[in-house]
């Protein structure tokens, strides 16, 4: 069976791994809206949406980042996983939200 050649776009080299793509999109996201305080603007940016679209493959990458320091990935993880491990009282507290997601990751067998 012959392989179907995949289309290549200029912004996505064919040899790019998921991790490379994740970091490239993150860099684009921060470069374009990284100074915004609006969570709406940050979450609706196409690069953020594309990161979410990478799906479960990027969950360990996000958890690795959260281990390093609290990050805004706490807004992407519910969209990717459908889970909601953050108590309602902790919403908005990025540090507590990050800790809750790390606990969730360990409980669900993720390695990062």
């Amino acid at each position: 069976m012959s392989a179907v050649p995949s289309k290549q776009t200029p912004d996505m080299p064919s040899a790019e791994t998921v991790e490379e793509r994740f970091h490239r999109l993150e860099a684009t996201w921060l470069a374009e809206v990284g100074y915004a305080s609006s969570s709406t603007a940050l979450r609706s940016h196409p690069a953020f949406q594309e990161i979410v679209g990478l799906g479960e493959a990027v969950v360990p990458l996000m958890l690795r980042d959260l281990e390093e320091r609290p990050r805004l990935w706490v807004w992407a993880l519910p969209r990717i996983t459908g889970a909601d491990p953050v108590p309602e009282s902790d919403r908005g507290n990025i540090a507590k939200m990050s800790a809750a997601w790390l606990r969730w990751g360990r409980e669900h067998g993720y390695r990062w």
């Binding site: 100074y35 305080s37 969570s39 320091r69 609290p70 805004l72 953050v86 919403r91 908005g92 507290n93």
Partner: protein
């Protein structure tokens, strides 16, 4: 880092602004202006796993009025200008096309401090942050400093 900040805020180029914190995702400019470094403030829709903090009883809508009300809850009242007044602390709300984008807080030395989204805090002249990212200052509010806060100001170098 400096090059990146100046690229986003060309008004800072050649000025005496200072980066005063490392990058930190845990709080944003609204929180920083309100004196909170533990929460991300934004009037997101409530009851959502992604909801940010927003003061209870203040409408969760992205309007100047909702932001004014959020700071009114902290004791700030609308004032006429951004000039330094002894015994008061001022905050300045930036908007672009009528949408709230940023809040800066005045320091005891008369300059202003801003948290740049999830990035760094900077000390700057108020209007050096205006233009394409945050728009311009549309509202200034002030609150009287408490005796303890005045004492801290007096002890400041």
């Amino acid at each position: 880092m400096v090059g990146r900040i100046e690229q986003a805020f060309p008004g800072l180029r050649g000025t005496a602004y200072q980066v005063t914190s490392p990058q930190d995702d845990t709080y944003n400019c609204i929180a920083w202006a309100a004196g909170d470094t533990t929460d991300w403030w934004w009037p997101d829709e409530p009851n959502n796993p992604e909801s940010a903090y927003w003061p209870p009883d203040v409408p969760r809508v992205e309007t100047l009025e909702a932001f004014r009300e959020a700071f009114a809850n902290l004791g700030y009242v609308v004032c006429n200008d951004d000039q330094f007044e002894g015994g008061y602390e001022k905050v300045a709300l930036f908007a672009l096309a009528g949408e709230p984008k940023h809040v800066a807080r005045q320091l005891p030395n008369g300059r202003w401090t801003s948290k740049l989204g999830p990035m760094e805090d900077v000390e700057h002249a108020l209007h050096d942050l205006t233009r394409m990212v945050y728009g311009s200052v549309v509202l200034v509010m002030k609150r009287p400093l408490s005796a303890a806060e005045k004492g801290e100001v007096d002890r400041a170098p």
